[in-house]
Symmetry: C2
């Protein structure tokens, strides 16, 4: 049968995730992988999870595994409202914050519409934007003068997607001034800001900066997730947004998957409201601070001259810039052969540029494997410089 004639126009723009495709082909446990965005397995509260499951089944009975409300179970929305000081009516639970990105794009962007992003930015967001055939326009800065984007393009923007805290892939954080500039730009040109905040609670140094949501709640869709503060296997996230936008998201979500996983939501609610989340988060932050510091010192020790990197205050990633003649896409197979994996930085640039960069994850590997991996990687890089 000829399937080609059947495919929708969107499929022509689908972009495979090089990260997820790596996972399909290679047994990453056999090599030193800085490629994924996996949390350290040691941060998963396995005993808590076992207890939470038994506890919510005892407390809620059949309700814990029956169909749930599309907006999410009330107990979880209340726990989030309480923790973040956001009204219940402004909270929608999502089946992962990737779904948050997808559903925001779905309600806002038609083919050809402009979506503003930083460059580089999160690959999974680029996948989603491309799949809807939107025009992705990178901002060079957040003011009208520094943006490097013509006014007529800004006027066509539906939203601007940013990860203000410890960005994926850069590890960088937007200053308060930059956040205010972006709010002013969005107000002038009438677009919404999608603030993706998966790493916000993983801060290891420096002072928290107010969320964009707190600066401009009427023009922001703020995405949160349990993936980095509980466990990614739960696939639970949330959106804070103005009620008029959340109403469209609510109706859209009915046809996407009816409701988020229910038992998982009750477990997450109890994890949050019982104080277990905060206790676990403190331990995770300690662990990751040490890993970030180790990674920075290993890079300092082993990387050849001409290589520089970001110094993130939190999150899971840092970003390397190699001498301009090094092509990290071409270098990838050699690295894999040597037993080390990374993600080429150019995948995070909407235009595929910056082929002399790479993203390194510092959360996943244990300390001895991290040292082994950075040594291997430094050798591979040195051979290409």
């Amino acid at each position: 049968m000829n399937y080609e004639r059947l495919f929708s126009k969107d499929t022509g723009n689908f972009m495979r995730s090089p990260v997820r495709d790596i996972f399909k082909k290679v047994d990453l446990s056999a090599i030193c992988s800085f490629a994924g965005g996996y949390p350290d397995a040691a941060t998963f509260p396995l005993d808590d999870i076992k207890e939470l499951c038994a506890l919510v089944l005892d407390r809620y009975g059949a309700k814990a595994v029956q169909y749930g409300a599309t907006q999410g179970v009330t107990e979880l929305r209340e726990a989030i409202a309480e923790r973040y000081g956001v009204p219940l009516a402004n909270i929608q639970i999502t089946t992962s914050s990737q779904q948050g990105i997808d559903v925001c794009t779905r309600i806002l962007a038609d083919p050809g519409d402009v979506i503003l992003t930083t460059s580089p930015t999160y690959l999974g967001a680029l996948q989603s934007f491309k799949s809807y055939r939107a025009e992705i326009v990178p901002l060079a800065g957040f003011s009208e003068e520094s943006a490097g984007v013509p006014a007529e393009t800004l006027a066509r923007a539906k939203f601007c997607y940013v990860i203000p805290d410890f960005q994926n892939p850069g590890g960088t954080t937007m200053s308060l001034e930059e956040r205010r500039l972006l709010c002013a730009l969005s107000e002038k040109y009438g677009f919404v800001i999608v603030e993706d905040a998966p790493y916000r609670e993983l801060r290891y140094s420096g002072e928290p900066v107010p969320t964009i949501w707190s600066l401009a709640p009427d023009r922001t869709l703020h995405l949160g997730t349990f993936s980095k503060i509980f466990a990614p296997g739960f696939r639970l996230g949330w959106i804070f947004g103005p009620e008029e936008l959340l109403d469209k998201i609510y109706v859209c979500k009915q046809s996407l998957d009816l409701c988020p996983p229910v038992l998982d939501q009750y477990m997450a609610a109890e994890f949050m409201s019982s104080g277990r989340l905060d206790a676990n988060l403190r331990k995770s932050i300690e662990l990751y601070r040490g890993k970030r510091d180790l990674m920075l010192s290993l890079l300092e020790r082993y990387m050849p001259e001409g290589v520089s990197w970001t110094h993130p205050e939190g999150g899971l990633f840092l970003f390397l810039t190699l001498p301009p003649q090094v092509d990290t896409v071409a270098l990838y197979d050699r690295a894999l052969g040597a037993g080390v994996a990374y993600v080429a930085g150019s995948f995070f640039y909407p235009d595929g540029s910056h082929r002399n960069t790479m993203r390194l994850n510092f959360s996943f590997l244990d300390r001895s494997r991290m040292e082994e991996g950075i040594k291997l990687l430094a050798d591979v890089v040195a051979s290409a410089v």
Copy 2:
């Protein structure tokens, strides 16, 4: 802020679920509700679930709550492959079979494309099709002669959506002859068949009919779900399909939600492969057979003359046809006031016709509430005849 100018064209076609909106407004536990498609809470194996959670956490450790593969965890795909005799390469796990419907529509239908359906059909599918601005064309029959659809329209069809077993809302089952006719029609006109089979394993009488997937695996996307054979709160389903179609679905799912919920998948795999599913299913079938029989006898006893209904061999629903002057949409508030809920049948017709019909669920209420509810409903109907 003016959000209206920002919304995508799709949002203009979003259709609210009257069923889900009822759940938002009314405390259904206070009335006799035949409205939802909820399984009987007594079929949920709560003790098993508690055990399964502890068991998979002990066996798989951190892997059970880490990110998983986009196609689903191998153990679950293997359990499904074994149970249904389908090759592993033809199985994609979905985050609910509603997501299965959504993702099939996304990869196949552009705005204005034809999707063939029966009429009536599942409301959540209509929501999805409308949200992509497809043209929904009802088939009167499954042969070229009986379809009642011009050849040029059939030639524009991307897929035909059917629920062959114990259809929602009708409770009806397609004969083998009808399935074969549909396969022939799809072959002649080059469209795919989306076979939604959520109720297939809930057969209370009669003989199973082969799936459309078994008749035409190269042109069928078959959707299954754990919602009616385990518990709906898990939001897990699967698609059987040709590899070329599954590959597009795989890439699409990366940007939809990365992967299905992981702990839930391991629990479902163990529920299936340990034999617990079959044991639980036998009990559920016994329970539902009794409820279906009770519902049929109650309708016989209480409904006024001029009311007829389907006699399903399985599933969760039956469908009432009232005298032509009765408008079940208009009658709804009176029914709710009397303490009984249903879903007006016209919501299941793509053109909103058949306002003298209603869908009744017989799985959810216990036996005494069911009798109370049918008495109330019969009075409301009698008052309108």
